[in-house]
């Protein structure tokens, strides 16, 4: 029989007339404006719009996946302190199904953004050329292809001309690169890309809907079976989460530069997602508290713990991001170092704009918030903690921009970036925050809620 638990906690609804009732509508309105701008952007330069959309989609996706991971992990470990904040996290998570819609523009423009799809990119043309030679899959073999091309250049051009030589070298290099990209065809192909995208979106939406449903159902009937169901699925959910996050990262971000690779990339995205999610959570909680909602239920003690997680994941993010940078910087292997070379080129005559963005990221995404959020007093201060969260969210946006846009070219912020970001943020949070108005703001019948409410730091 369904076992229940004695309940002393009652549901909490948004008070009548609270501005939060309309939050989701404002977000959707912003999203609509963003969509209109994006449509205009697509019309004037589809490729540039594509990069803007990858950036905007990744920005909100990371927040959404962070919330999914947080909710699932609370079930795995049976944490009780977090029960009062879990519903707010679930509300962020319930924005995830909107990715089903948000991913469509990405799928439409993908051939223009991902050069390996072989439509509008240089690599693509050469990849096609290289296939004619019917060489096997390895880079080594394609070294041979490069030679042939060099030879071809040799025939047509005057050898003594340095311009022609440089041209020949350039062509040879391109052919080599095309060969390498061609060797990845078994993974980097159109069918795989679309099929996998469908899979990722399905996994995220189903998991988000399931976890939200169990939690909401328990509000109604208080059945402990929901807690147990959520816990039983959690290990599988985590495995699915890890795999989809990693491969979506490879498909959508890493393959923007099809030559570059890094094994840690999935872990890096995970860390980024957690940082941005906790920043969002802090802003939502402190925002609600500022309007007099949940002040007692989510006490300073809970906020302190969320702050600790924010700080902990910020440190973890720094560790992972630094490890990736450090190993690539130290070994300085040409095929890897391109990633940081694009973002940190100080060659005379080159555009140093991306290097400046890198400096901004180091300073404002790590050094300043790390020192700021270290103190226990800041984590317990309801007006200072959100300052750190705003900073981390802003730099999260910059960081994703810094990952995506250097693959387009020099730093050239455009209106289409803002439009795409507004569209994605607006739609994602519009969908997510709608649940603020329909559900209780705390999981009132969770078996651990009493303990969560009386929780204090030791």
């Amino acid at each position: 029989m369904a076992s229940t638990h004695e309940h002393t906690v009652s549901e909490i609804r948004l008070p009548e007339g609270s501005a939060w009732h309309k939050a989701w509508q404002y977000f959707l309105a912003v999203g609509a404006v963003g969509l209109a701008g994006s449509a205009f952007g697509y019309h004037s330069d589809p490729k540039r719009f594509g990069f803007a959309w990858v950036f905007a989609l990744t920005t909100v996706l990371m927040i959404g996946l962070g919330s999914l991971f947080f909710v699932v992990v609370q079930h795995v470990v049976g944490a009780y302190w977090s029960v009062t904040v879990r519903r707010i996290a679930e509300m962020v998570m319930s924005g995830l199904p909107s990715i089903v819609v948000l991913v469509i523009p990405l799928l439409v423009v993908a051939p223009r953004v991902y050069s390996w799809m072989g439509e509008h990119g240089e690599h693509g043309e050469h990849a096609a050329a290289a296939t004619h030679t019917e060489h096997g899959g390895t880079a080594h073999d394609h070294g041979g292809t490069a030679h042939d091309h060099g030879g071809a250049a040799h025939d047509h051009a005057d050898v003594s001309s340095p311009v022609a030589l440089a041209h020949a070298e350039h062509e040879a290099e391109e052919a080599l690169e095309a060969g390498i990209v061609d060797g990845k065809k078994a993974y980097l192909n159109k069918g795989g890309f679309y099929g996998r995208a469908a899979g990722y979106v399905a996994v995220w939406s189903v998991l988000a809907l399931l976890y939200m449903r169990w939690s909401i159902k328990q509000d109604e009937d208080g059945d402990l079976a929901h807690t147990n169901a959520a816990r039983s699925l959690a290990p599988i959910a985590l495995i699915l989460f890890g795999l989809t996050l990693t491969f979506a990262g490879i498909d959508w971000l890493m393959s923007l530069d099809p030559l570059w690779y890094s094994t840690i990339f999935g872990v890096y995205l995970f860390a980024m997602g957690m940082v941005s999610f906790f920043a969002t959570l802090i802003l939502l909680i402190t925002g609600l508290r500022a309007s007099g909602i949940l002040v007692k239920e989510i006490s300073v003690e809970h906020l302190h713990d969320v702050g600790k997680f924010q700080f902990g994941f910020l440190s973890f993010w720094a560790y992972i991001a630094f490890s990736q940078f450090f190993l690539i910087y130290y070994a300085s292997i040409p095929e890897e170092v391109t990633f940081f070379h694009k973002r940190w080129t100080l060659d005379p005559g080159a555009d140093h704009a991306w290097a400046k963005v890198t400096v901004v990221l180091i300073a404002l995404h790590f050094i300043v918030p790390f020192i700021f959020m270290m103190s226990r007093n800041i984590k317990r201060n309801t007006s200072l903690l959100p300052v750190g969260a705003v900073l981390l969210l802003a730099t999260h946006v910059i960081e994703v921009y810094w990952i995506v846009l250097p693959n387009f070219g020099d730093l050239s912020p455009a209106l289409v970036d803002v439009s795409a970001l507004l569209a994605c943020v607006g739609i994602f949070f519009g969908v997510g925050l709608k649940s603020l108005t329909v559900h209780s703001l705390i999981a009132a019948k969770d078996p651990r809620i009493e303990r969560a409410l009386s929780f204090e730091q030791v």
């Binding site: 630094f322 940078f325 450090f326 130290y330 300085s332 030791v458």
Partner: protein, 189 residues
């Protein structure tokens, strides 16, 4: 039920009054009363840290964090300057195409030295704040007090407290319903 006052040596003076309790709840409530009575030089002794006792005693927050923060800054700066001097100034080694002093290439060293000195600050700072090691203390004269590391709880009020008066304080402690009270003395030097 009070213990006989030891009278072995003439040159002794009261050091502290010790009251024994049997449960965390009892000692916690007693501690609240002692604080309310306005005593300053007093203490609670327990086998493990009792949750809520700092608040009951009205203790200000621990200062340890400041010591650790100072040591962390010293650690970071000393590692950086060690690297700068040794590999940048005194004996420049060019390795891996990097200049003698290339800040990112020795980050692990900065980190480790920072943590090492912070840990020293934590442990020795804790000893310093606690006045430990201190092997001689009048409280150890009590035979019952050995149970403080087992399952008994004690409150001690020192004779150095301005409100301390042997009889009055003993009466005050008796009102807290301890299971035992004793007076401990120390030699007059």
């Amino acid at each position: 039920m009070s213990a006989p006052t030891p009278t072995r040596a003439a040159k002794k003076r009261p050091a502290l009054l010790l009251a024994q309790f049997e449960s965390t709840a009892d000692v916690l409530h007693a501690a609240e009363k002692v604080r309310e009575a306005g005593y300053q030089k007093w203490d609670v002794h327990t086998p493990f840290p009792v949750h809520g006792m700092d608040k009951a005693m009205g203790l200000p927050d621990s200062k340890l964090g400041w010591i650790v923060a100072t040591m962390a800054i010293i650690g970071f700066c000393s590692a950086l300057s060690m690297y700068y001097f040794m590999n940048g100034v005194d004996y420049a080694i060019i390795v891996g195409g990097k200049p003698g002093f290339s800040p990112p290439a020795a980050v692990p060293v900065y980190f480790e030295v920072t943590v090492l000195l912070s840990a020293f600050g934590t442990v020795f700072g804790m000893f310093h704040l606690n006045g430990l090691p201190r092997h001689h203390h009048p409280i150890f004269e009590s035979d019952r007090f050995a149970a403080v590391t087992d399952d008994k709880y004690f409150i001690s009020i020192e004779a150095g407290d301005s409100k301390f008066d042997v009889n009055e304080t003993r009466g005050f402690l008796e009102n807290l319903h301890p299971t035992h009270i004793e007076l401990l003395e120390e030699a007059v030097s």
